[in-house]
């Protein structure tokens, strides 16, 4: 019977939206996913966080998710569906759900919302994000050491601050080690299309890149790098098993403890609208094990030292002086870029030989 129910649910798939409901219980937590939980990237890590939350809180919460929700008006329908079906807390896990989340939040003042990587809040809308750029600093350092062609290929998704910040952090660290390093950026304008991501990786490798960095969600670029015999960094989760001879390390997103804490706050009735931006120090950003086959022991040690320095605050990825492409000083020497500048970052730093799409 359970099996039948499972099949039935899947057949009810409507335009790629699947709803999976666990057993019923007091507090209901809903999630909106941009991709499928099986992408072994962004959505996968959010789903791991959801599972962690359920395990932590036991019977106090149940959770539901809708996967593959496009970042357009469809998102409003999906979020409203969760809000109107008795959910108490709803996590919307992609940047471009921002306005849709606020729109629905206005209609349901008693439902709590949490929007990932956004910056617009309301009384019942919190935002949360992780400082992924701290990880980008470390991979930039590694890439600066390991590139032999001085060319790094970077597959970017959309020109939003989160992605731009990643490119800048990566380049600042890489150029510190290797001032002649060049970074080639391909904007894929998708988070999720294994074929297109592989095409982009192959194009970059064809143009002489010997390290592939990605800010898209599947492990296709890493696989393409493995096939072509060049190096790559994983995205969002540890992807070493898919490309053991290319994978240097990955920046992992760890959402579980945050989800558990926020759900607990709803259960206790202490939830309030907040802005959370945690990094390595709080364990929200974690580096995957460094690949000892591809990196020297010294380089691994340097990377680990950088992790420690970022955690204790002695190393800031955006420490001044930082100039933009026009040569203007944006962060003076001795200062660090503040969170406001980081959150809205829409410029390339000096040295990146490309134009940022606006």
């Amino acid at each position: 019977m359970i099996k039948f129910f499972k099949y039935f649910t899947i057949i009810l798939t409507f335009f790629g939206l699947t709803i999976s409901t666990a057993y019923s219980d007091p507090k209901k937590v809903g999630f909106i996913y941009i991709g499928p939980p099986g992408d072994h990237g962004w959505t996968y890590m959010h789903d791991q966080g959801r599972i962690h939350m359920e395990n932590q809180l036991g019977g106090a919460v149940t959770s539901t998710y809708i996967e593959g929700v496009p970042e357009n008006a469809d998102a409003v329908r999906a979020i409203r569906k969760l809000a109107s079906s008795g959910h108490d807390l709803i996590f919307t896990t992609s940047f471009n759900y921002m306005d849709q989340t606020l729109e629905v939040a206005k209609e349901f003042p008693n439902v709590m919302f949490e929007h990932a990587t956004g910056y617009k809040r309301a009384d019942n809308v919190s935002t949360y994000s992780a400082r992924f750029y701290e990880g980008r600093t470390i991979i930039g350092h590694i890439a600066g050491h390991l590139t032999t062609t001085d060319t790094v290929g970077y597959i970017a998704s959309f020109p939003i601050p989160e992605v731009v910040r990643g490119i800048n952090a990566f380049y600042l660290a890489a150029s510190k080690v290797n001032p002649g390093i060049k970074i080639k950026v391909i904007w894929a304008f998708t988070w999720y299309d294994p074929g297109k991501e592989a095409d982009a990786a192959n194009t970059l490798i064809n143009q002489g890149a010997d390290i592939i960095v990605q800010h898209t969600d599947t492990f296709a670029p890493c696989q393409a790098a493995e096939k072509a015999g060049v190096l790559a960094f994983g995205q969002a989760s540890n992807q070493e098993e898919f490309c053991p001879n290319a994978h240097l390390t990955a920046i992992e997103d760890v959402w579980g403890p945050y989800y558990a804490a926020r759900a607990q706050a709803v259960v206790d009735g202490t939830w309030s609208s907040t802005e959370t931006w945690h990094g390595m120090d709080k364990g929200m950003v974690v580096m995957s094990p460094y690949n000892a086959k591809l990196m020297s022991a010294d380089l691994i040690q340097e990377a680990i030292n950088m992790e420690v320095a970022i955690k204790d605050g002695s190393l800031h990825p955006f420490a001044g002086p930082i100039y933009n492409q026009a040569g203007e000083l944006v962060v003076p020497e001795g200062q660090n870029a503040d969170d406001g500048m980081l959150a809205g970052m829409n410029f390339y730093v000096q040295g990146i030989d490309d134009e940022l799409p606006q």
Partner: protein
């Protein structure tokens, strides 16, 4: 672009375009018989997941492709039963086949997401795609059976009056279309991006459908259309990687040099050619199968 880079570029284009050619030529045969199957995306997904799962379980590439073709025959057989026997609306049935395929493939593949496999070299399939387009063209225009299939698509009542079994011929055309779509899917999950991920076809089925209209139902033009689209999508990536910018004397050079414009260029190029083709209304009218989407029942 130097010589080596150009060769590399061509390779990427060939690899990326091949699945759309397979799916497009399959759908073309189906439509030539007078049936519109909008389930291409769903059939590709089911084909992709079947091939992947078979490969993981048996370790045999041959079985993987075989089972994937069976899966395509199953999916399109379901469609054929609904539209030919029960005479349901082709557009609605095809759309639901896509939705069904999305769900079914996710269900079958749930346990296999993220299983690493060894990809297959794509070159035999690239050659095969050209061969199949040629064979379909030969079949349509040089053989009697091809003529009969086209006749069924143009006027099923006349074909019926001449004593041909309209439903049988349409069934075969639908099954061929389904198996080609599934094969395209298996190429994607085994050669192109060797992995299984939910929804990994990412809209290529819809591109294949558009290609059939683009080709004005002529097999050779499927290749032209597919390579205009595939070539532009890889070329724009190449330009982005090179940091290409239009010179300032070009009007709106900032806009044309931006990544969003580059990303829409494959669709734009296809649209422009489509507009040119459809500017001649007579040509479209003459080349579209006259009985497309019309149900056939013997009493009519």
């Amino acid at each position: 672009m130097n010589y080596l880079e150009f060769i590399g570029f061509l390779q990427i284009v060939l690899i990326a375009t091949t699945p759309v050619v397979f799916a497009g030529i399959g759908e073309l045969v189906t439509e030539k018989s007078g049936v519109l199957n909008l389930g291409v995306e769903g059939m590709m997904l089911v084909g992709a997941v079947t091939a992947f799962v078979t490969l993981v379980i048996t370790g045999s590439y041959l079985l993987a492709f075989l089972f994937s073709i069976f899966a395509g025959i199953f999916m399109s057989g379901l469609f054929a039963f609904l539209v030919l026997i029960l005479m349901s609306n082709q557009v609605a049935t095809g759309l639901s086949l896509t939705i069904f395929g999305i769900g079914l493939s996710s269900m079958i593949g749930k346990k296999y997401i993220g299983t690493p496999i060894d990809g297959l070299t794509p070159w035999y399939f690239v050659i095969l795609s050209f061969l199949i387009v040629f064979l379909v063209g030969y079949f349509f225009y040089k053989t009697k059976s091809g003529l009969i299939l086209r006749a069924v698509g143009e006027s099923h009542t006349s074909a019926h009056a001449l004593g041909y079994s309209v439903l049988k011929i349409r069934l075969l055309a639908i099954l061929f279309g389904g198996s080609m779509c599934a094969f395209a899917g298996s190429y994607i999950s085994i050669c192109y991006a060797p992995m299984w991920q939910e929804g990994m076809i990412a809209g290529r089925g819809w591109i294949a459908l558009a290609l059939v209209v683009f080709s004005t139902w002529k097999p050779s033009r499927i290749l032209i259309g597919a390579y205009i689209f595939g070539g532009t999508s890889i070329f724009q990536m190449h330009l982005q990687g090179k940091g290409f910018k239009f010179p300032h004397w070009v009007p709106f050079d900032d806009f044309f040099s931006s990544a969003p414009f580059f990303n829409m260029s494959p669709y734009l190029a296809t649209m422009i050619v489509l507009v040119i083709i459809s500017s001649n209304k007579l040509r479209i009218k003459l080349s579209a199968p006259a009985c497309l989407t019309m149900p056939f029942y013997k009493g009519s």
